[in-house]
Symmetry: C2
């Protein structure tokens, strides 16, 4: 099997959607963007041995690679449109590629995000996905829109991604391992928050760091009340590090967003059908002396050091 046969066999599952006049197989894919919407675009690379274990299940690697990108679309309030796949393989292992392709096709269908095109090359195993979505014109959720006084919310539960990564090799802890491999991009929540949330980000590098991006982009500080963090019982059951992972661990891919006090009830109403818990965890504050940043406090209001630093590839 050569490169072209590989693409034909395993990567021709892009649905013939109305908005995609031309998918896999030409020099470019062609995509229609409705005139009342803007294109949102994001890219994430997953490198074997850095972002996932080299012996991981190929279908899970594929699904995780797509989901972490969809999470960025969710954080803008975008609806998925399609994605480009750059797949670098050390060798052509048909079984591996078949499993990878099956997992990818499954999530592409479930999230209504067809494969548009891409590139297959030989080299150390890595996956780069560029996901496209659309948002209503001028209404995307940005990091920079928060105001002092806005409340800070998160979806789902935090720390599971870091906890899952920590126990990937353990048998039996299916909940956490599953949370690591198959993060749930909060696409419905993001779209429902348009016109309500003043700022949003996805929690990929740890809550303190990602909320810090909202604070910095909005020229504010933020107070994070650690006792309010939503932590799954399965994570708490693993003991001591649960709260540190919830504050500073990465890989959760939940949304963190800010809501003006006047829109709290509108938010609760808008999210009724999303089936995802949201939890208030803090508040945006004026930057005292111009210093933006996130201050964690414990139940008594005393300052708290997060304990786990946000993810940084080069530190």
């Amino acid at each position: 099997m050569n490169e072209f046969e590989l693409i034909r066999t395993y990567f021709h599952f892009s649905a013939a959607e109305e908005s995609i006049p031309l998918g896999v197989g030409d020099d470019c894919a062609l995509v229609d963007i409705p005139p009342d919407r803007q294109l949102a675009i994001t890219t994430d690379t997953l490198v074997s041995g850095v972002h996932f274990p080299a012996d991981g299940d190929p279908g899970l690697i594929a699904r995780r690679a797509l989901r972490v990108n969809l999470s960025d679309l969710a954080a803008m309030g975008a609806r998925p449109l399609g994605f480009q796949l750059a797949l670098t393989l050390p060798e052509l292992d048909s079984d591996w590629v078949a499993d990878f392709s099956r997992g990818l096709a499954l999530d592409a269908r479930d999230f209504d995000c067809p494969l548009l095109g891409g590139d297959t090359t030989r080299g150390p195993l890595a996956i780069t996905i560029t996901a496209l979505g659309t948002v209503p014109r001028h209404r995307a959720l940005l990091r920079s829109g928060a105001r002092a006084g806005d409340l800070v919310y998160v979806t789902g539960s935090l720390g599971d991604g870091a906890g899952g990564l920590h126990c990937l090799a353990d048998a039996g802890d299916d909940y956490l391992v599953n949370r690591y491999w198959l993060p749930q991009p909060r696409l419905e929540v993001g779209q429902a928050l348009i016109g309500i949330a003043s700022a949003a980000v996805d929690v990929s590098d740890g809550l303190v760091q990602d909320l810090g991006h909202i604070a910095a982009a909005s020229g504010l500080a933020a107070r994070l009340q650690s006792e309010l963090l939503p932590i799954a019982p399965q994570l708490l059951a693993r003991g001591g590090e649960a709260r540190a992972w919830a504050l500073g661990g990465g890989d959760d891919y939940e949304l963190c967003f800010t809501v003006p006090p006047s829109l709290i009830s509108a938010m609760e109403f808008a999210l009724v059908d999303c089936g995802v818990a949201v939890t208030r965890v803090g508040q945006m504050l004026a930057a005292s002396g111009g210093a933006t940043g996130v201050h964690c406090v414990d139940a008594s209001g005393n300052p708290l050091e997060p304990g786990v630093r946000g993810y940084d590839h080069f530190r």
Copy 2:
């Protein structure tokens, strides 16, 4: 310097263009697509040691990575809009990244294709670029539009990419080495050919193979007259393999396109201002017995074996 400082320092050169309301620095970039145009999107990965020598000049690596993507836009008749960069680095070498970033910014400006966003990760050196462009609605140059009788043309000269790769280490052969590192995406030609060319492809894997894509997509055969191939004197001067490289070598990034006989003069007129030579090299034929494919003939019309096979990562 950490990951965020790296991005801030080296990858914040995306121009504030009207069509790009939001560039580097949020969860996604946002892009406006004019209602009378469609989005064209393409992805190419360059892996160190596979697509370029590991000790190559970082600025040239960056420019080559962008240009091979722009060449795919050119083959659709698209105008560049912007690009996503996924950069995987084994370590944070500031000098290397500074050189890379300078080269990238230079070509991003020259080709009017700003950086929109992307991802930096740690791992074996590789660059994946996803380039976006726009084409007038329903008028993109596809591979599938050729008709029997259409003439086959190529831009520029062929074989230089393969010749350049072959003598990268030689001092003094600046023309060929330069042609390898800095292919010239034929963006103006592609745009000028809209409404004139019946099919187009960029010559990245070798002319025989890439013209074969037009033939297969159009359900035709093609005859390629090897004595007509445009070969640069600098390549001919290197002797025996010049013609084989021109037929089957990769990395040229010239355009190959087909034109109906009735539009030959329109084509010549449309390309007057592009400053690029185009050469007729063959003709599209009905697929005899249903077999699509490219037949090479020599000056006497006798069948010729190309000698160099098109590029395939997994063969």
